[in-house]
Amino acid sequence: MIEAVNPALLLIISGLLILLFESKTLRLAILLFVPLFTIFQVFCLSEGEYWTINFAGYELVTGRVDGLSLPFVYIFSVITLLINLYGLHINERFYHGATLIYSGSSIGAVLSGDWFSFFAFWEIMAVSGASIVFLGGSRRSLGAAFRYLIIHLIGGSLVLLGIVTNLYESGFQSIGIEELEKINLASLLILSGFLLNAGCPPLHAWLPDAYPSASYAGTVVLSAFTTKCAVYAIIRVFHGWEVLIFLGVLMALYGIVYAVLENNLRKLLSYHIISQVGYMICAAGLGTHVSINGSVAHAICNIIYKSLLLMAVGSFFYAVQKEEMWELLGQRLYGKLKFLLFIYTVGALSISGVPLFAGFASKTVIMAETGEAHRPIVNTLLHLASVGTFLSIALKLPYGAWFGGMKDSNFTKGYELRGIPLNMYISMILAVFLCFLIGVYPRILYLHLPYAMDFNPYTQYNVLTTLQLFFFTTLSFFLFRRKLAIEPKRSKDMDLIYRKIGEFFLGICSGQYRIRQKVQESIGALVERMIIFAKNPYDLKGLFGRKSEGVIIEYDPEKMRYGIGVSMIMFLGLYGVLSLIFILLRF
């Protein structure tokens, strides 16, 4: 019974049902019970291959359940429930339908055992993700969704190109997803497609462009799936590639630098997605059993606390209707949103990796393993990224949002806040609970990782170093906070280049189009002149587009004809000449 239906298919079909029917009861039932059933189902799954389909000459495996795919499926199904709960009050079936299809296709991609179905789900993910961005509803979301989809189409094309090249090199033997060890065209193409989805610079610009353009609930949905799915794929196919370590560290630092500079609340958190995914990519690059465990664990924790952070900031945005820090300058909202600040802080401490919170349980594994692998530079740089994370998320963001930059003590007189619905709180409290649970009792996380592992994060050394780092970061923040002044400016990123290229390309297209029109017009004009000329051979100048001067003699064919006798003689003469030529040729 557990194996009756593929959870991916179930979610996608229920998403379609929501799209089709306007009934609110049906929607509520689906939004709550389908994820619950999915959670129940996937936690009962045991390893093996399920749901094989014979399709167009291929044997497709849409359910490869093993140690690596299971943890991702667990967390995807859990987060689907939380997301649905968070957005339960939203009365828009398109949003809910797209969400379910999006999460379903991510689960499908993770469960796929062959390239064909993997790619199919990968593309559905791109389309449903773009529609969630689009449903943000503003003018900005429209453009962002379009750019998101085009960039993912390009990324998808890279992956497809890589997949078929890989198939070709392996002689079209099997289309199962295997790990790629050789560096060749195929693997590089696939890797670049994956890295695009993971948000690796310089292919990341879609992420901070699109995510903050979605609605407050849409951002939460988006943050959970696409990048983590890419992490899964990278671990599956490319674990142990040296270059990933470098790229991971680059991502971790790049995201932090922009996050520290950023003033838009959700955009700041979007940059943190890049940074956090950097840790996972880096760990995947190390390639040992423990580091892969660390990568998966970090993905799981990240999904939980990043959703929590975005839910909290989303609720803040929902209540206040503002998300640029300079708009919030001088408005101390924390008195009215105390509980939200508490929830946010749990997420912030988790992402920073403070002991007792989820991030600590996973980040320590990666940190320890970089030490084990004797990569002190990587270790130091990742520590630096953690400091940046703590600085921007735990200190700067609440300071700017809840405390209005502490400018003056204007206590938001007469400031109307929208009440936050209960279901949003419930969802956030559940996420808070999960953060605590994993932080306090990390074994529950470690049990579900791909490889068995005996690891205890709570050693004296780990706890002390982290606490020291954070203590001094806090201290320096309050000493130097004037330097981090909040100004109404946007930081420039790669998306500027994308847009310029896009505009340039569209310019070329319209240029080509104009050339075509010119050619067509001139051909048309020539035809027109030919027609005029044919009607009146006297009007020779008309053929060259010039107006004839003076009187144009009207053409009358009757006048031009010879009499019947002359015509006959001419015809016979011609006949005679031709016959002569023919006879002469015969000789």
């Binding site: 167009a56 064909f116 593309e123 070709y168 079209f172 569209l506 189009y513």
Partner: protein, 490 residues
């Protein structure tokens, strides 16, 4: 079975004469004849297909025209694909056109339906032809029967478009005639043979000239650049004409004939040894990219779709020129799938025009709210052409990509993928625009007659169905594999 095969060509012609003799009056009878004929024709074609797959080959030599040249009908797998596609979509489009033509109060409907039926009949004739001469005859009937449909409006612009159409297509026919005669002189036969019958002993330059004459002659109907210009102009015709004839039957007949030339006249051995396939493929690749570039800046919805058709027709030809199993299979599947998706898009464009009197892309803001079913189908068709699963366009894209690698040409693989991305660049803004909430005034739902929205929803869903079950009902997948196997021998 021979009777059924003959019947499926004969019936549309019969219907055409009946409708023409009815005149402009008795509309109901005319509709009944059209629908009845289209159903019956499709049933016949399906019966023939089933018996073909059961192993029974239907062929008829009707009249001998010259030594070794007969009026020769043969129902092979390749023809079956095209016949199934055209005759099935005819049913839907005729239902659609009843509502469309009435809603717009079009004139001269008798002539319209009569010529429509004749065009379909001759398209089926092209599909069934067993040699070049028979194909040429039906091909010409197809050209001429479409002419009154192009200038149906009888406006200045329509007459110009019609003139352009004839000028392009008749000069193509001249080239074909030349090439056909030359082929006959060289080979003494014109009967199609899987893998090609062309075995001329003359010098390679002459052979190349014959091949290029065939290619360009038929390619004009397949709108290969720079011979494509008649197609965007022909969009002045009523939407059902654009939908069935200028996205499926007529232009696909051009593609069909090009593929006949490539696969059944010259064949892989000749093309590969002379390396001509590569030059032709480069020539066609130019169209694939350029048509999409032009489509991006086109503001008229139907003309934008026409440019997309130009692109896709060349994609099909490019696929068959790869001369590999997956390439040919992908090309054949794309021929079918593009038919389903593009007809959806055209019918949507017509429905938008009927519902809101809008024909420019820049006017489409918020149309998705007023015409949700139409725009849903439009989205399906557009995403399908971009090649996104679970819509059938993805399957053909997959095989085309595999095919270009089997030929070891990553160049053409990137042509396919770039063309898909460009497809996205000009289709997705339409989708996004229409669902955006910018214009509040038009957000009231417009209700269209079922006859308009039913067929387009059906073809939209059918394009999803064809992805999920590529080998059901029409057996397109098996048929294309059979063709690829018979031509290439593997």
């Amino acid at each position: 079975m021979g009777l059924f095969a003959l019947g499926s060509i004969f019936l549309p012609f019969l219907a055409s004469f009946l409708i023409l003799s009815l005149g402009e009056k008795r509309e109901t009878l005319r509709d009944i004849i059209t629908v009845f004929t289209s159903f019956l024709t499709f049933a016949f074609v399906l019966l023939c297909t089933n018996s073909l797959l059961a192993g029974e080959l239907v062929e008829m030599r009707i009249v001998s025209l010259a030594k070794n040249v007969d009026l020769y009908l043969k129902f092979d797998a390749f023809g079956a694909i095209f016949a199934n596609l055209s005759s099935f979509l005819w049913i839907l489009v005729s239902i659609y056109s009843f509502s469309y033509m009435r809603a717009l109060g079009e004139h001269n409907q008798g002539r319209f339906y009569s010529m429509f039926a004749m065009a379909i009949g001759s398209a089926l004739g092209v599909a069934y032809s067993g040699n070049v001469l028979t194909m040429y005859l039906f091909y010409e009937i197809l050209t001429l029967s479409t002419y009154p449909l192009v200038l149906h409006e009888e406006s200045e612009e329509a007459i110009k478009a019609g003139r352009k159409y004839l000028a392009y297509l008749l000069s193509g026919a001249g080239l074909i005639l030349f090439a056909m005669v030359y082929t006959y002189l060289e080979n003494g036969t014109l009967d199609f043979l899987p893998g090609g019958f062309f075995r001329g002993d003359s010098d390679p330059v002459t052979q190349a000239i014959i091949l290029i004459s065939f290619f360009v002659g038929f390619g004009i109907k397949a709108a290969i650049m720079p011979f494509h210009e008649w197609l965007p102009s022909a969009m002045v015709a009523p939407t059902p004409v654009s939908a069935l004839l200028h996205a499926v039957a007529v232009v696909k007949a051009g593609v069909f004939c090009v593929m006949r030339t490539v696969l059944f006249i010259f064949g892989p051995a000749f093309l590969l040894s002379s390396n001509l396939w590569f030059f032709l493929a480069l020539f066609v690749s130019f169209t694939v990219i350029m048509a999409n570039v032009l489509a991006i800046s086109e503001d008229n919805l139907k003309r934008r779709l026409a440019f997309s058709t130009v692109n896709n027709l060349s994609v099909i030809i490019l696929g068959s020129l790869l001369l590999t199993h997956s390439g040919v299979k992908g090309a054949l599947l794309h021929m079918v799938y593009h038919g389903f998706m593009k007809i959806t898009l055209f019918m949507c464009a017509g429905a938008i025009y009927v519902g809101q009197r809008k024909s420019l892309v820049s006017e489409l803001d918020g149309v998705g709210k007023s015409l949700p079913i139409t725009m849903f189908s439009f989205t399906v068709g557009a995403l399908g052409l971009v090649g996104i699963p679970p819509i059938c366009g993805f399957l053909s894209k997959w095989y085309l990509c595999l095919g270009s690698l089997e030929r070891n040409e990553i160049l053409f693989l990137s042509v396919f993928l770039i063309s898909a991305i460009l497809d996205g660049i000009y289709f997705l803004p339409i989708v996004f625009r229409s669902f955006s909430r910018k214009s509040e005034s038009h957000n009231k739902r417009t209700y269209l007659p079922t006859g308009l929205e039913g067929p387009l929803l059906f073809t939209g869903l059918a394009s999803i169905y064809l992805f999920l079950f590529p080998d059901s009902i029409f057996r397109f997948y098996t048929l294309s594999s059979t063709v690829a196997k018979s031509v290439l021998g593997y």
